[in-house]
């Protein structure tokens, strides 16, 4: 009973995430991998990895952009990494923002980079919240089974 409600809640959450473009079909593929591949906890593992990694990268980026002389090569490298990991996890919005971020970085546009970082951070936080909710729901569902 409770499990069914939780599952419904989870499905609604995921639907909204897909619908809003927060995640794309790469994330769907990860889910399929977990279900078909018999690797329970895989999505949770990847999502957790992503959240930790992205959080670290965003902190690094913030520190870099606060420097009096910004090392845009370093910034670009971090953004590139964030883009890669967000693409791998299917975090579509973060990925798109990273692409814009990289362009600003190559233009050596410090203000633009700071703005882009803010956008990325917001999108990431939003996504992380959804992911955390998703993981909690999954845990609850699993606990009730």
């Amino acid at each position: 009973m409770a499990a069914a409600a939780l599952r419904e809640q989870l499905n609604a959450l995921l639907s909204s995430m897909f619908a809003s473009g927060l995640v794309d079909d790469q994330f769907q593929q990860l889910q399929m991998l977990q279900e078909d591949g018999g690797t329970p906890g895989f999505v949770a593992e990847v999502v957790t990895l992503f959240c930790d990694d992205a959080d670290r990268i965003i902190s690094e980026l913030a520190a870099l952009l606060e420097q009096p002389i910004v090392d845009f090569d370093k910034v670009d490298a971090y953004v590139h990494q964030l883009k890669g990991s967000s693409a791998s996890v299917g975090a579509q919005k973060v990925k798109f923002t990273c692409m814009q971020f990289r362009q600003l970085c190559q233009d050596k546009n410090r203000d633009g980079c700071i703005m882009a970082l803010a956008v990325v951070r917001n999108e990431f936080y939003d996504l992380r919240n959804k992911f955390q909710t998703m993981l909690q729901l999954e845990q609850q569902i699993q606990a009730q089974q």
């Binding site: 990694d53 490298a77 890669g84 693409a87 791998s88």
Partner: protein
Amino acid sequence: MRLDERKAAVGRVRDQFPVGMRVLAVDDDPVCLKVLENLLRRCQYHVTTTNQAVVALRMLRQNRDLFDLVISDVHMPDMDGFKLLELVGLEMDLPVIMLSVNGETKTVMKGITHGACDYLLKPVRLEELRNIWQHVVRRKFSNCERANIDGYEEWTRPSNADFDHVHSQTPDQCGRPSKKRKEYHSEEEDEGEESNGQENDDPSAPKKPRVVWSVELHRKFVAAVNQLGIDKAVPKRILELMNVERLTRENVASHLQKYRLYLKRLSAVASQQASIVAGLGGNDPFMWMGAFEGLQGYQSFASSAALPSFSPQGLLNRNNPTSFGIQGMSAYRPIQIATGNSTISHSIGDPNKYHLSLPGTSSRQGNLAQGLTTSVGQVQLTQKWFHEETDDLSTILSVSGRANNGVPGTLQSVTNSHLLQHGLVECRQDKVVIQPSSSGSSDRLEGTVGVSSSLMDSCASQQRVVPLSAFSTSASPMNGSFCSNDIAELGATSSGGTNICPSNDLRVARDNKVGATSFGNVILLSPDTVPNQKYLNFGGGSNLRQSMDGGNTDNLLNPKFIWSCLPTSQPPNLIGSHHPMSQRPNNGNLGGTMVGQTTASASTAAPQTRIDMFISGDTPTPKSASDLSFPRVHSELSSSSCSFDGLLNSIIKVEKDDASFSDDLGCDFYSLGACI
């Protein structure tokens, strides 16, 4: 990866190939790596992951037979993915797939040019990974094809003892394929093969870190091999000579085998071209090439015991102080017409000459010196070799020596034996006869010229090689002179050569020349001293010649004397240049000069000198000993002798030389000589 895992993987591989394919995934991004790993597992590959390129490289170096495929991210902090790609490509010959979120054409192009077999964009899709096993199969097939070709080539050259063990291997055992093969074998077999692999250049032999053969390292290696002689070069000795830290005998053995295969490949390519040219006929520079190729093939054929297949390609020149070296030299000569001459000079046993030729190949000088010292001994060696190959040859050699003494009849008798062998032999016989005449006197030279021309013709007919005929026609007068010189040397040599090379006359001739040269030259020097002296004079200069004539008799007897003569007349190098000059002039002036005698040649020499410059180093001795005509060849030879690496270059040079020569009769003659 532990043994159990590996065995399990091997077992799976055996069952259904794509399943269990061993993939090493490298990505510094933990998220990407995790996703990639799972996707790969989903494809039922056997996945190993690392987030550091350095670690990946270490794993590959330590267990390079444990992976079939590498997937690497492009952007990694510890090492650029392209660098990893490059190193893996150089050391492991594993297919590498690059992975990046950045799909710019420039970046993708960089990956491809660095050797990536594929370039995937993140996020990687399962569909893409399901197909990556094709790269492993493709690589394996391409390697198998190569191995098959090599194996085939080797089969066609059964004489090559060095390759015998290769022959015994199945094609898929060569190089990378051996890695694949290992996959399908049990652990015990693998261990057995590893010990083998050390000798068989098995790249998958684990434990030893892969040595990166830098240009510098390779240079040392080549120098060591040259010093030892390609046939005598054993990994242990090479290692000692190289004196490089962290280099193991296995490393050297592996590289040596690759080097030999490389030489073989070069020769094969050259021979193909040559054969094509031969088919076309004519005076084209390529003709020489053809002759060269033929020689190589011939050598491989004839040399079975003594001649290493490698040596023919010019490797011989570098390395062989011993008889082999001479043979190899000869082989080269055939390849490069000029080289043949240089070989001859070597055979003559003049240290100076050797030195000269060596200088041409800067790196080889040291080796050459050794070779020179040995060269005298080489003549004997060659003789032995001849004996081994054919009793007739040995007799011929002896005969030639006697013939040199000035008895055409003896030579003829010798030639008769040769004749039995081949038409070429006959030609040689004629040549031999000519030699005596030439040795006899300048007047004789004229007569010789006539003979030589006839000889040339005969050679041409025998050889069937178009070049020869062209030579005869173009240089008929010149030919006489040339013939006399060449013939003398060739005669002796050729007799042996004939036996050796049934296949291509030209090739044979060269071989013969080589062998003969050593013999003939030596012999010639002693018996024919006077004529030889004249020739020598050519090399040194007309004046020198005269003086030589005066005291040559003594010199003639001793090969060393010849040397001394040369040096006295001029510095070795100078001599070399002079000789070439004289020879070339002879070619150009052939009729007149030759007839006139060596003195004339000196004057004529000047014009040709420029061409000879190259050759000069090698030419001097050979020319003095054998003939002026050789100088060009020598030049070519010298170029060839420079190094294996320089083979192509030498070939090119030869072509150039040929082109320049083509105008002169001498060129034709050379080609003929080569053909012979």
